[in-house]
């Protein structure tokens, strides 16, 4: 089950950049640690609006674009968002992302504490890559890490050796 890009001979960066969106401070801290433990670079946002701003879709777009010019590797490889959030839900955020020509290619994973089949169906239909149950564990992140390699280089099919 070796997902290491070095054995594949790719020049893919070993540290994917993940944007984690969750209104809970406890969960943001937890997911940040889980992701860093898997060699990911993490940015967190406390709501959908903030997430969109960081991605360059918000009202403060001109500020984010300025920052982007300075940073070379600000590209986000994966977005993980909580479903239940006040204001904009994870589902609504997903929809907005898929409506954007710039951002629709970024894989989005929805997480929720509730296992509701209709909710899961709805998210997958809207283009979510995966739906996971909270609380997240290291094994869940390992699974996602494998997917991230695949998403980053969609033309190469031989990225994930196992599940």
């Amino acid at each position: 089950m070796d997902c290491s890009s070095s054995t594949m001979g790719l020049d893919y960066e070993e540290s994917p950049h993940v944007l984690a969106v969750d209104d809970s401070l406890v969960d943001r801290k937890l997911i940040e640690s889980l992701l860093k433990n898997s060699n990911c670079i993490v940015t967190t946002a406390e709501n959908g609006q903030r997430a969109l701003e960081l991605l360059g879709l918000g009202d403060r777009q001109h500020i984010i674009n300025k920052k982007k010019k300075k940073k070379k590797d600000s590209k986000v490889n994966l977005i993980i968002t909580d479903y239940c959030m006040p204001g904009m839900t994870g589902y609504e955020l997903l929809k907005k992302l898929k409506e954007s020509s710039d951002l629709k290619e970024i894989p989005v994973v929805i997480v929720s504490s509730e296992n509701v089949p209709t909710r899961i169906k709805k998210c997958m239909k809207e283009g979510a890559q995966e739906f996971m149950l909270k609380p997240l564990q290291q094994s869940d992140i390992k699974k996602l890490r494998c997917h991230m390699t695949k998403f980053s280089k969609p033309t190469n099919g031989k990225l994930c050796m196992g599940s």
Binding site: L25, V26, L30, C84, K134, P135, Q137
Partner: protein
Amino acid sequence: MDSVVQLQRQLADYTTSLYNEGILDEQFTQLQQLQDESNPEFVVEVVSLFFEDSQRLLNEVTTALDQQSVDFTKVDAHVHQLKGSSSSIGAQRVQKLCIFFRNYCEDHNIEECRKCLQQVRIEYTLVKNKLQTLFKVTRAANSSRWWVNSYAMRGKEAKSREESEMGVQNL
């Protein structure tokens, strides 16, 4: 040396009892596994956030239930958040109570909601005290081991100092 072993044993026994009593579940183990040299205070940090967050939520729920006309959607939203954060740190009993609490919110049953709030406060206080004790015992065990390490090093030559450090780390 005996005191170090004793403290370590106390720590292990105490931790086991928390799991056996259902106060903590395997999610807490996940937190402990995320703690390492690069993140040495992780568990304390996350749990501290949980304490702050829970206190705020419990206060909000109390206020909401005290209103003339109770907004059950609001109460439910706060309880949902508390359920989430308690689940994330492994505070099993608090999480389970929140599930019942949400059912009563759905039924708009104010009496049961108030009873539930009391129970949640009791279980939250319990897990808070238990975790604070756990952190205390952990600090004592780690500190005691540090003292033993430095005492062992003091009486040795620089060369054998390296050897004993290696030996101590393997304990």
